[in-house]
């Protein structure tokens, strides 16, 4: 028997050995890095960790702000008390302090009864969308609300109300139904404007909504970081 087959088979063996081990290595690496292969558990863990970190950071911010306000409230000589007052006003306007006053509290929730009775129907018709909250908040602003919060999230100038899949983000915090929208302002005025607007539409489509007027509504301070990295005041002579 001739040995002419030896060399070609050896060549093919080298190549296939190379491919085999290479492929094995690639697959082993893939399993570690491909998020889909681990059913996104890594991503979920990442999100949870980051949210935990955000909470910790917010606590630190709150502590620092408390220290700061203690320092600011010391009795001061000269015309500094006047500046102190201005600073306080500015903080209230910016939403960096908790505020209390007359106002209304609206609660809205998913129409789960309606969905139960019509299981074949599109569930989108029965859940609260970010647009509902956005409309109510806009109406409250039209009604001269001085401070608004949704589920404890103070709305300030840079607050977003945004749909991300099946949750709603406000101040980059995930919030879920039922939604409690608190507003400080003239209770009568505010109640009138929302009951003639979005709240009425929601009632007519059988969403469970409530509206209560209170003498004392407490609205918490904005908890997160508030920095202007790009915007700078325009100088007088530039205008």
């Amino acid at each position: 028997m001739s040995r002419k087959w030896l060399v070609p088979i050896t060549i093919v063996c080298i190549i296939s050995g190379f491919f085999l081990s290479f492929q094995l290595k690639v697959q082993a690496n893939n399993n570690n890095t491909n998020p889909l292969s681990q059913k996104n558990t890594n991503l979920v863990m990442l999100i949870n960790d980051l949210e935990e970190e955000i909470k910790n950071q917010e606590n630190i911010i709150e502590q620092i702000r408390n220290d700061l306000s203690n320092l600011e409230n010391r009795p001061l000589p000269g015309n500094l008390p006047e500046l102190q007052g201005q600073l306080k006003d500015a903080r209230i306007i910016a939403g960096l302090t908790s505020v209390i006053g007359k106002g209304i509290v609206i609660t809205i929730d998913d129409n789960s009864d309606g969905l139960k009775n019509n299981p074949q129907d599109d569930p989108n018709k029965y859940i609260i969308h970010y647009a509902h909250i956005l409309s109510i908040v806009s109406e409250l602003k039209v009604g001269n609300a001085e401070a608004i919060s949704v589920n404890g999230q103070r709305l300030i100038t840079n607050s977003e109300i945004r749909c991300v899949g099946n949750v709603i983000l406000i101040n980059t915090t995930r919030i879920a139904p039922p939604f409690t929208i608190s507003a400080i302002g003239s209770p009568k005025h505010l109640a009138e404007i929302v009951t003639n607007g979005e709240l009425d539409i929601m009632k007519s489509t059988n969403y469970p909504v409530t509206l209560e007027e209170f003498d004392e509504v407490i609205i918490p301070a904005y908890k997160s970081d508030l920095q202007f990295r790009y915007a700078k005041p325009v100088k007088e002579e530039d205008e």
Binding site: M1, K4, W5, T10, S16, F19, N30
Partner: protein, 120 residues
Amino acid sequence: MWVLPVFGLLIGIVLGSTLTFQIPLIYVKYMSIAVLASLDSVFGGIRSVLEERFDGTVLLSGFFTNALLAALLAYLGDRLGVDLYYAAVFAFGVRLFQNLAAIRHKLLLQYRSKKNRQLR
């Protein structure tokens, strides 16, 4: 006489595990086809040796054209939205099993005929 191919296989494995270059995830699919094609050639070669109809040129050309064509077809399938990749995997897989079965048959027959000769 089987030492050289086994040695070659070992060399290939060592080469493959020491060489580190990243190939993009998209091409991992084509790599797996190449693996199947090379395995198919190895077993096909062994089979043809046992059946005493071995031809080195046929083996090597078959290996390269099969691997290239399979990769091309898989690529074309990707472009067209048809999973031709699975067809290539299926074809190579079936051939692998057929070759293995033929090798086993041949070896068994050889073993038996040897035994018979010894008995006589």
